[in-house]
């Protein structure tokens, strides 16, 4: 690299502005939104849930700021309601047929596998299109074929490799999702490393083993008194499994989030940085669940706001001056059916 071009690079680097992501929501105001959402949703037999969704999302979007500009959630309650009714109809059909006619349910699983990639794509498309920062919307341009390979074919194949391929498959899924995100007319570029996914997976594996050994030692020390009642032991084993899953998935999510953010940029617009400490994130999730369980759910808003604050505080965005020139390309509104179908059938495809 010659002297002149290095100067240009440095010059550019100094022009980017570093902004920490801010979250301005608080437990008190979110609690009242949350409880009123539940009350109205039950009282209207679920119809209000569409309004609840919009208020929920707008609360978190609108309280998330980069450089003093907030995000917006653009879907209207009626859009959500329409999609939800369709999804519920499909879901009811599925439940009825699988309860009364067990054989048809098997057939529906095949249909579900074929529809799944489309539903995932539509869900991402809808959610991103309904996300706006300043006056520009996001969008998603993934194709059915790629989604089918990444979400159906490869995960099934990885079972036959005793899950040895799984970290690579997870990398491909994250890569597929992020590399198809657009902000206005600009594309998000995410370069993920397979090696990093394997070391994260290895770390998680070691963590599980480590926790397993600690639990086994504890069990040996204190176990004698329980040995006569198998129910207590079953209960404890179940509890251990749940907490192990929670701890390991939290650590995994934190490490993957850091890797994805630190290797993503929108050409000429923004670079991202995430410094989420896996240990902090694990502690946050564990204490959140404990708080929710011991308050019979009432701590949910507190837990959610707390999580949003931690995620925002761990994120930095470097904005280029050219960011002002991004142009919106969204026009027509599509239905939210696929997103709803994904919600109801509980297919989690969260981006964080």
């Amino acid at each position: 690299m010659d002297l002149e071009s290095r100067e240009v690079v440095e010059n550019r680097a100094s022009q980017t502005q570093k902004h920490e992501v801010q979250f301005t929501g608080d437990t008190r105001s979110y609690f009242s939104i949350w409880i009123v959402n539940i009350l109205f949703t039950i009282a209207t037999l679920g119809i209000y849930s569409a309004w609840a969704t919009v208020r929920n999302k707008q609360y978190f979007f609108g309280h998330t700021l980069i450089n003093g500009h907030r995000f917006d959630y653009l879907a209207t309650p009626l859009q959500i309601l329409k999609g939800r009714l369709l999804a519920i109809a499909c879901f009811a059909l599925y439940v009825v047929s699988s309860t009364y006619f067990s054989v048809i349910a098997l057939l529906l699983i095949v249909v579900w596998c074929i529809a799944l990639p489309w539903i995932i794509n539509q869900g991402l498309r809808f959610n991103l299109r309904m996300t706006r920062y300043r006056n520009v919307q996001f969008s998603f341009k993934g194709r059915y074929k790629d989604a089918f390979v990444n979400f159906v074919l490869l995960p099934v194949l990885s079972i036959f490799t005793l899950y040895l391929l799984l970290p690579w498959v997870l990398k491909r899924i994250d890569s597929y999702i992020h590399n198809n995100i657009h902000y206005g007319d600009k594309k998000l570029n995410t370069q993920l490393s397979t090696r990093e996914y394997y070391s994260i997976a290895f770390a998680c594996f070691c963590m599980s083993i480590g926790i397993g050994i600690v639990v086994a030692i504890l069990a040996m020390v204190t176990g004698a008194s329980f040995s006569e009642s198998p129910q207590i032991i079953t209960g404890i084993v179940l509890l251990m499994q749940l907490s192990l899953v929670m701890i390991v998935t939290s650590a995994y999510q934190a490490m993957v989030r850091n890797h994805v953010y630190n290797n993503s940029h929108i050409e000429g617009v923004a670079e991202f940085e995430s410094g989420l400490e896996p240990v902090d994130y694990v502690i946050l999730n564990v204490t959140n669940v404990l708080a929710i369980v011991f308050t019979l759910g009432l701590a949910f808003p507190w837990a959610k706001v707390r999580k949003a604050k931690m995620l925002a505080a761990a994120t930095v965005v470097h904005l280029h001056p050219e960011a002002e020139q991004v142009v919106n390309v969204q026009q027509a509104n599509q239905s939210s059916f696929a997103e709803e179908a994904a919600n109801v059938f509980d297919v989690d495809i969260s981006l964080t």
Binding site: S29, S32, T41, I42, R134, S229, V326, V344
Partner: protein
Amino acid sequence: MQEITGKLYSAGCNVSADYTLHCSNGQMTLINDDGTKLLAPLTDIQLGVAISGQAQDITLPDGSRFLPDDVNFRLKSDFDSGFIERCEKHKALVLSSIVLCPLLIYLLFFVVVPNVAASAVTLLPDGVAKTTGEQSMLLIEKVALEPTELDIAQQTEINILWQNSLAQLRLSNEKYRLGFYRSDFFGANAFALPHGQIVVTDALVTKLAQHPEALRAVLLHEIGHVEHQHSMRIAAQSVASTVALAVIFGDLQGIAELTLGVGSAIMQQQFSQDMERQADDYALHNLETYGYKAADFATALKLISHERQSEQNDWSKYLSTHPQVETRIQRAMNYQNSK
């Protein structure tokens, strides 16, 4: 009206500039520092969602958008922005919701859903019960049942008892069919499918071999389940509550489902205990009506539950799925006494 400062985002792009908003006579005016003026009639603008801690934004007819700096800014209140936000700010409503929500959930899932399910089942055509029963039978047969090892004489003996009972109850022996199977999975047990198929395991027959009158009582109990459409009601109830859960809590994420999952399991249990009692009553009533003894059913319960209890330690009695077996035996004895 006072001046409101804020940012104006240009239509369809990322550029923003500081503007000041004035409203008067149904007209809004936006003025820039350098004197640029934008005018729009209030009837043509679109208002954003009003939510705690966020300014309500104003979208102009050309697609540009004004976002006030003051997070408490509200231009005016329509249904979405006004009524809902007022509810969310209403302290008494928020506090009483903490009590009202669980109460409403209880009413919905323990009162409304079971009743709707029960009345919906009576509307289902017979064909549904037939198909459901046949398909379930197909699966159960594959998974948990093996051909019977009872000798022909024993089978014939029970079949005669069965045909007599059907004749007495004036029930069709085309609908009601009895089948013997060997099953390690079910142990000493009998169950009924909605289309009238009744399954008795070899272990049960062996256990009640010396008490044919007790076996008759068990068969009547199973017929009671079919006559009251119990399997169909359980199915309808689980469909109704699953769909209701999905509709209401599709959006409230995780926790609600967790709490309600436990609730619906208890509810199902309660529902099936009521059903057992109903089937018991059917058996007891018909035993007495056709000149047998209600105590026969008590005998059957005693014989079946005897071994089960001796297998279990004290602790698990509390978790047993049939903790009320003593009560059921008592009811059978008293039923006889009261007649």
